[in-house]
Symmetry: C2
Subunit: 339 residues, 2 copies
């Protein structure tokens, strides 16, 4: 079985695409990069774990793409240009075929967005009894007397950083009363794709293909984020659900919102997914009403649907109306890992 170092060498060491800024990549105690003068760095980290963030039988190439893409999305939401990423992984075994496919997907995403993968860490995810060093609790249908039988879970942690000209990053905290609320793309598709895979709904083509693509190969809205610098007053990406993530903008900006999309799915799992489905990585953002036409023009130039879905109001909280103006009862408000 190849060593940790051999695996890193074989699958995760690539020549930097930008040697003027990536001075040293994988292979020393740390990487060395040279930031651009006049820029600030925007940095984000995300951990993905089998069973919480992805199904254990997810295609490894899709998983590699998504592991990086969800981090790219955080930079998109800040209006930053992604530049560098690090990957730490815990794996139960050195399954080379699996690792090779994961690396293919990961680097496909890195290549799409011009990112240098500059470092990482590979570690063994130990069998669970070794991690606990004790037998499981009694009385749950188990007896226990043998050696470890549970391989440890796969865990990935990506840290990404990018650049913005000093002072131009998009924050959650800038939404102002009267601003329009916009969302990109088709929120809800990823959640519908997951529901299909889990047997909670049945999709047919072409929705099936679209929803599975949204789930497995999310497209971070980097070009949109860059274009929104100096235009949007606040932005966030939809990772936990449209309402939940918009809620973070409202809280950070001390404002309320009235949401009334012009088009809203019927009150089925489709509507739930639209309002509260996570994993879409679309951007929700606010823009002064006077600049409505600039956003509409962006939609055309980026070939990306951008829909105005509401208005920022004074106060706090979020109310949602259907296109006819009927108030909705919004019980399901996204996903909070420990609640």
């Amino acid at each position: 079985m190849p060593s940790e170092f051999a695996l890193i060498d074989r699958y995760f060491r690539r020549a930097p695409r930008d040697p003027a800024h990536t001075v040293l990549g994988v292979g020393d105690d740390g990487a060395i990069v040279r930031p651009s003068p006049g820029c600030e760095l925007v940095i984000s980290t995300d951990m993905l774990m089998a069973g919480t963030h992805f199904l254990p039988d997810t295609d490894p190439a899709d998983l590699g793409w998504k592991t990086l893409a969800v981090n790219v999305s955080d930079l998109a939401a800040m209006g930053a240009l992604p530049r560098w990423a690090l990957l730490a992984a815990a794996l139960p075994e050195a399954n080379e075929a699996w690792i090779e496919k994961f690396a293919q997907g990961f680097f496909a995403c890195a290549d799409s967005f011009g990112i240098d993968v500059i470092g990482g860490d590979t570690t063994k995810s130990p069998p669970v009894d070794a991690a606990l060093q004790r037998p499981p609790p009694r009385g749950q249908g188990n007896t226990w007397g043998g050696p470890a039988c549970f391989p440890g879970p796969r865990v990935f942690c990506v840290t990404i950083f990018g650049e913005v000209p000093t002072g131009t990053a998009l924050l959650r905290s800038g939404a102002a009363v009267g601003d329009e609320i916009w969302v990109s793309g088709h929120p809800g598709r990823a959640a519908l794709g997951l529901a299909h895979l889990q047997g909670r709904t049945v999709l047919s083509e072409p929705a099936l293909t679209d929803c599975l693509a949204a789930l497995h190969r999310p497209q971070p809205r980097v070009a949109l984020g860059l274009a929104l610098r100096g235009l949007a007053t606040a932005a966030i990406d939809v990772s936990d659900g449209l309402l939940a993530d918009l809620g973070h903008i409202l809280k950070a900006s001390n404002v309320a919102a009235r949401l009334q999309p012009a088009v809203l799915p019927a009150p089925t799992i489709e509507r739930d997914s639209y309002l509260a489905g996570g994993d879409d990585y679309e951007l929700v953002f606010t823009v002064p009403a006077a600049r409505h036409a600039e956003v509409a023009a962006l939609s055309t130039s980026l070939a990306l649907p951008l829909a105005r879905i509401g208005t920022i109001e004074s106060g706090s909280g979020l109310s949602v109306f259907d296109p006819a103006g009927q108030a909705l009862d919004i019980a399901r408000r996204g996903y909070d890992h420990f609640s």
Copy 2:
């Protein structure tokens, strides 16, 4: 049970110590930092997992310290000044008392080294059957019919950023024939402390206290790393064992080494720990022989033992001799996670 966001707010959100350089910390999609002009960034990431990197019953404050300290050590080995860190954690439950103590240890280390904690991620470590979505294999002393009974393991991933004046970072690749090889502190103490806890040896005072401190509260050699800029030709920190980590310098520099420490423990677990014990976070470094006196003076000014343990030679590989000049058979060469 408090939500993910409440936990982050309560234990991991602190005002930046350096607002001129830490523009935005925890709380948005990403953090924003402003690097110092004329500096390069040095970046490293490490994942720690219960069962592989720490005993599950480790005191949470010690674990918090060590989780950050091992990353600080990577920057020390590059001669960088640590500035910013991010923490991602997967936890099986929101055990507030545990998290509070972990945060205390983590921030104690951050405060010791002047580091701003600028972001992170908190996620749920799912029960292991949920991660696997299948029962364990038969025939290993188990029957299986009930719900999940294994909580998920604790996982931590830290990414750390620091600064060096452009072009001054210490690399593994600069060792030259004739250079002296030096090591700081007392390699082997952490491994001896672990062996004591696991019943593989019995330590008595004062060694017990010293070895447990080395294991639980490692002291990254940041001041030494800074002082070695412009003096050392290569450096690395001892995380996998003295021989294994020195081996990385030899490989990166295309040289060989003859190791002959003036003082070497007797051929017991103490010698094994000295040569191959991991987790010490001392620095091994090479210096031109002509600058021997400068290193000796550093030992005094830093109040840190620095021992010359060998010489860089041409060729490849590593030979080890006892103080009397007798060659040693070095079978145990450190720790490689997948081998």
